[in-house]
């Protein structure tokens, strides 16, 4: 090596440097290609996201404890839930199995009717004092304040019982008004084929309990 002329040495060194740089660039490129292929495309990111800590049924109201966390690679544009308090009080639009990522679009603050299931969720706002003792899951009838039935001539919807012929509906949610504490909205499960048996906003009505589930 020492006998080589300086110009040849310089060429040799330059070639070795080019080889070294080439190897480093190849290693870096390999890493980038592997990362892209592993994630099945570009724009992936390591993210922390909320997952269901328990299995959640459709229409269930979620609590903070229902959410756990997981870490993994997701596309950048996928919406995720990152705060447990953000899901508290929201309703699941679909069944979420345990460990599944909770997508924000599978939740909403109110229940939304699902026509395919043949059920409508109808809100009815009543005075808060009338909902004492009620909870989601119980069945109620909507009667007038004087406890007389709202619409005797209306066709039967729901199950009849001892409330003077009124129909009973399952309460799926109760949400107190944020503007007016004296009123609360009840969300009742009504057959999609039926007409609405009562006005959704009425001061003149109240719920009465038919039975608990």
């Amino acid at each position: 090596m020492k006998r080589l002329p300086d110009s040849l040495k310089l060429i040799l060194y330059s070639m070795m440097i080019a080889t070294s740089i080439g190897l480093v660039v190849m290693a870096v490129a390999f890493s980038w290609i592997q990362a892209r292929d592993y994630h099945g495309g570009e724009h992936h990111k390591l993210r922390i996201y909320g997952v269901a800590a328990v299995s959640i049924d459709r229409s269930d109201q979620l609590a903070e404890k229902d959410m756990g966390f997981d870490i993994g690679w997701l596309p950048e544009d996928v919406q995720v839930v990152t705060k447990a308090d953000a899901i508290a009080g929201q309703y699941a639009h679909r069944t979420i199995v345990r460990g599944e990522r909770i997508a924000p679009d599978s939740l909403s603050k109110t229940l939304v009717a699902d026509k395919k299931s043949g059920v409508l969720i109808v809100p009815v706002t009543v005075k808060t004092e009338y909902v004492a003792g009620l909870s989601p899951g119980c069945r109620v009838a909507i009667v007038k304040r004087d406890l007389s039935t709202w619409k005797q001539s209306a066709p039967k919807r729901g199950k009849s019982d001892s409330t003077g012929g009124s129909e009973c509906y399952r309460v799926v949610a109760m949400i107190p008004s944020t503007k007016d504490g004296s009123s609360t909205t009840l969300y009742l499960e009504v057959n999609a084929t039926d007409e609405c048996p009562f006005p959704s906003q009425s001061d003149g009505c109240r719920p009465v309990i038919c039975q608990f589930d």
Partner: protein, 395 residues
Amino acid sequence: MFGDLLTKIGGALEKDFLFGAFIPALIFLTAIGLTIILVIGIEPVSTMISTLSTVNQIMAGTVATLGIIVFAYVMTALRGGILRFWTGNSMFPLGLPWGLVKLGESLQRERYQHLRSRAQRISRWPEILEQFRVNVDKKWEHRPMAIATGADILLLLSRVRQISPTLSEKRLERELASIIEAYGAFDGDSLCSVYEGVKRRLLDWAEEEDTRIQGDCYYLDRNYGCYASIRATKLGNIIDSYNHYSYKRYKIEGEVFWPRMQRVIPDSYIKLVDEPRILMDFSLAMTTLSTGYALFAIVIGPWLWYNFQLWLCLAIAGMAFALFFYRVSVGAAFKLGEMIRSSYDLFRLDLLAALDRPRPDSYQKEQEMWSELSRVAVYGSDLNFDFKIIDREAI
């Protein structure tokens, strides 16, 4: 409060370990952690951490602390390798830097030769002045009686002002010859101011040139050891220069006798020597870890977030930090070199005394003594030499 905390930590840990390994490890791992957190998002990470139980949080903190300490100890163990790498003595990893190292050595060798030729050049101004004096003297002997007028003198002085150190040798000769010619035409005494003007200018340039040569000698001595041991990097050559100093001046094998020297150097002075050494260790560790961060960004980055611009920017930032800290380490090595040189100048005779050798009468004798000792220490030579006679009772 933060200062108190640092003081307490500093007291608990050795300064050497603290600055040479622990703080760089802490900065590096924090930077990596922060990068990952920023990629994932601060809010999700803090939410996730808050969901951990207190026991788990304490455990995570303990594991992180232990991780930093272990990493710092690994850094300490790798200190020799890190120094070899940045001084151009290592082919890590996989011999990849071979071409760079060889090219660096080649360039540094050329630079050394250039500097050496500059440092060993002889100033031309004393010779030019001497020639001018001799030539003027010759003309002075055959002077005619004509007296130079004020206008003649002014014309000659303007010619004197035209000569400058940037002129080529021939042009300078021509300019001086034209001034010397005047001494053939006029009375020499009337041209004293012209002679003084030329002499003053040439002497000034000689002084300037001498100062520059001294500067070049100093620069060469402080930046390079010897031709045979040229390193690929500036840092390597500076370290080599102070390792060679003791041998060049006193024939002391520096790397062999430095540990023995530390025995006779007072603690207060050792602390002064340690300051730049710790700074050099710190900056070299930071250089290495900044390079590590750049590699992390460009190689591991896409696995965290497939975003080329982000990781390229972070890799460039990492390399910029590495360059900055490398420059700092070069400055620290220079300071350390000065301290080590001065340690040899000040305490080498104390070391001789500690080795029970008599105090040498002359510089030459001292070099001979160190040569003998070096041979004994390095090669185990079977020389015989006298020990100093110590009056134990007087002690």
